[in-house]
């Protein structure tokens, strides 16, 4: 009989997994406050990862999207030499050694890879109509600007073709400028004063809404020569070049650089960037930002992990006599360790799932509030968040579980 019992024990000495899970679940639900606090802490950690990465990645997608809408196959020429070769924000304020002129821009049209281009001069000025006055940004450019930038007109027409160095006293105004200056009145054909010059309104830009780069809603567009005269400057802010196609971008870049170099006495004093380079830079920058906020959010997961450990340690202390009993009833150390580990894993899993749902709800709320902002958490962040939650929960559950498994049954039973 003794032998039979030994054989029997050999066959069935491990607690069955469903029993283990049910036991751990009952132990967890036996103390609802403790359990819900723990699950909440874990949930907040995971939700933070999901929401913050959704914000970071949303910002990245938003910027990338906006840059793509800037125009296609774009090569941008800006005055001044950037040492790094790539795009950096310092380009915007570098001093100009030699002006980038309208003649330079016109010369670029000779390049075979260039489809069309638009020079751009930027400044601020006052605009007035019928006693109403406001400060606006004035862009001086040429007829191809709308085509290069993929912009649409709401009414009228854009600046006419003609001599770039002269230009008619015509202006195209942004949707917001129109609203503020003219209200319900018809704007087309009216004369407005910009700075000390008078312009006739020939067109109104379609509203673009909030956008990166330049928002045309609050812009007044005039012929480039007139803008330069108004700002008393010969230099251009940018030349926007559209290459013949995607594969022509590099050729266009090389040709543009070469032409400007020749025109500037062999000195390469402009920076030519492609949209791809700008995009890549922003993509990298905002990707790093997302990673950084994910890292910060992960700290809250580590904190939640430590909380798991703490709570499980308290639980071991509270359930000392139960552990003693289980040992008396024949539970091995491994069984008890598994029971506590299972409990920690279940709590972490519940917290992770709850946090995932909360995070997705939060991201959905952000998308609801800001429809243009694509706040979707990236897949890697969701996987990493859930994984980290489970891992920390189990990792920090090991110590309490081992402590429980090592309890001396006599002392554990004596404790009430």
């Amino acid at each position: 009989m003794f032998l039979v019992s030994w054989w029997f024990a050999f066959l069935f000495r491990i607690m069955r997994a469903p029993d283990l899970i049910r036991f751990a679940r009952d132990a967890a639900t036996g103390n609802p406050l403790r359990t819900s606090l723990l699950v909440l802490a874990m949930a907040i950690g995971v939700a933070a990862v999901v929401v913050l990465t959704a914000l970071g990645d949303g910002a990245r997608r938003y910027v990338v999207g906006e840059f793509s809408s800037l125009g296609t196959n774009l090569v941008i020429v800006l005055p001044g030499r950037s040492q790094t070769g790539g795009f950096n924000p310092g380009n915007a304020i570098t001093s100009t050694p030699r002006d980038l002129t309208i003649d330079d821009a016109q010369a670029l049209l000779r390049a075979s890879a260039v489809h069309r281009l638009a020079p751009l001069a930027i400044g601020t000025s006052e605009i007035s109509y019928g006693g109403r006055l406001r400060e606006v940004m004035v862009a001086g450019t040429t007829a191809d600007y709308t085509k290069v930038r993929n912009l649409k007109l709401a009414q009228g027409r854009f600046l006419g073709e003609g001599d770039w160095r002269r230009g008619a006293a015509e202006a195209v105004i942004g949707a917001r400028v129109r609203d503020e200056l003219f209200g319900a009145e018809a704007a087309l054909g009216q004369l407005i004063r910009v700075g000390d010059r008078r312009f006739r309104v020939v067109g109104i830009m379609a509203s673009t809404g909030q956008g990166l780069g330049m928002n045309t809603d609050e812009l007044v567009i005039v012929p480039v020569a007139l803008a330069q005269a108004m700002f008393n400057s010969n230099t251009l802010f940018r030349i926007l070049v559209e290459a013949n196609g995607r594969e022509a971008i590099e050729a266009a870049k090389a040709q543009v650089t070469e032409i400007v170099k020749q025109r500037h006495e062999g000195e390469e004093d402009v920076t030519v960037i492609t949209q791809d380079a700008v995009l890549a830079t922003f993509d990298k920058l905002l990707g790093a930002l997302t990673l950084a906020v994910a890292g910060i959010a992960a700290i809250s997961l580590a904190v939640a992990g430590i909380l798991v450990m703490n709570v499980m340690l308290v639980s071991v202390t509270q359930r000392t006599s139960e552990i003693g009993l289980l040992k008396a009833l024949g539970a091995t150390g491994a069984t008890i360790r598994n029971a506590f580990l299972t409990e920690a894993a279940m709590l972490s899993l519940a917290g992770a799932v709850l946090g995932y749902l909360l995070g997705q709800a939060g991201a959905a709320l952000i998308r609801q509030l800001y429809p243009v902002f694509p706040a979707y958490p990236p897949d890697w962040a969701v996987v990493a968040g859930l994984g980290t939650a489970l891992l920390t929960g189990i990792l920090f559950g090991v110590l309490p579980a081992r402590q429980a498994a090592r309890l001396d049954p006599v002392q554990a039973l004596a404790k009430r």
């Binding site: 024990a9 639900t29 036996g30 006599s321 139960e322 003693g324 040992k327 008396a328 150390g333």
Partner: protein
């Protein structure tokens, strides 16, 4: 003569309390045969609880050997000892030691759950046990919904569910009134009549007198063994 279930020889158990040593058990020699009904008595601190823990493999002697069913169990690994507890030993405690969040049925099933016995077999045995101990209508009650007597009956059902060779009862009636305690003792004695070795620790002389054999402990030593006296006489 029946086979020796328990054989203790040269058992010493010393506790370290600060820098003083306490001899909880001294040169203990004891043999208990299968099917015996033994009461271990003595004042508190006499070592009777230590003896019970030792017999239940919850505690280990500093020296000496403990043979259970002919096998030296002092040298077994912790896991092997756990298995012996699971298969051969049933515990009944003064304070019942039921798991409060589990129902009566689940408490009774606990040793089988821990041993990994399949649920269908568990259900059959628990149903039978509930019937045997008059708890059928209490199966889904939690311990706090049971009377003291019912709790101890659940505990006894749990102790016997694995069909152990012996039951170790530590003051099984200590938390019960006389009438309920009487019921519980009758249950335990009924088990003993069916062949289970019953060892009861108590300091209640009336309770001890019901056993066929009395052991009296004092200062960690076995002062009196009614069986030995009888054989000597």
């Amino acid at each position: 003569m029946s086979a020796a279930l328990i054989g203790l020889s040269g058992i010493e158990r010393i506790f370290q309390l600060g820098d003083s040593e306490v001899h909880a058990l001294r040169h203990l020699e004891l043999r208990i045969d299968a099917g015996e009904y033994v009461a271990v008595m003595g004042p508190s601190g006499s070592g009777k609880s230590t003896l019970l823990n030792l017999l239940g493999l919850l505690d280990h002697p500093n020296t000496g050997t403990y043979r259970l069913e002919g096998r030296d169990v002092t040298t077994l690994s912790l896991d092997e000892q756990a298995r012996v507890r699971s298969e051969r030993i049933g515990f009944v405690f003064q304070s019942f030691h039921l798991v409060p969040r589990l129902t009566a049925a689940e408490n009774i099933a606990l040793p089988m759950t821990l041993a990994g016995i399949d649920p269908a077999q568990r259900a059959v045995r628990v149903t039978q046990a509930l019937k045997d101990y008059g708890l059928s209508d209490r199966a889904s009650h939690r311990p706090n919904e049971l009377s003291g007597g019912q709790r101890q009956r659940v505990a006894i059902a749990r102790a016997t569910i694995m069909q152990p060779a012996m039951i170790l009862a530590d003051e099984p009636t200590g938390n019960l009134d006389r009438a309920t305690g009487e019921d519980v003792m009758r249950l335990l004695e009924e088990l003993n009549r069916h062949g289970v070795t019953l060892i009861v620790v108590t300091h209640d002389a009336v309770l001890g007198a019901r056993a066929r054999r009395q052991l009296l402990m004092e200062d960690g030593e076995l002062r009196h063994d009614s069986a030995r006296q009888a054989s000597n006489a």
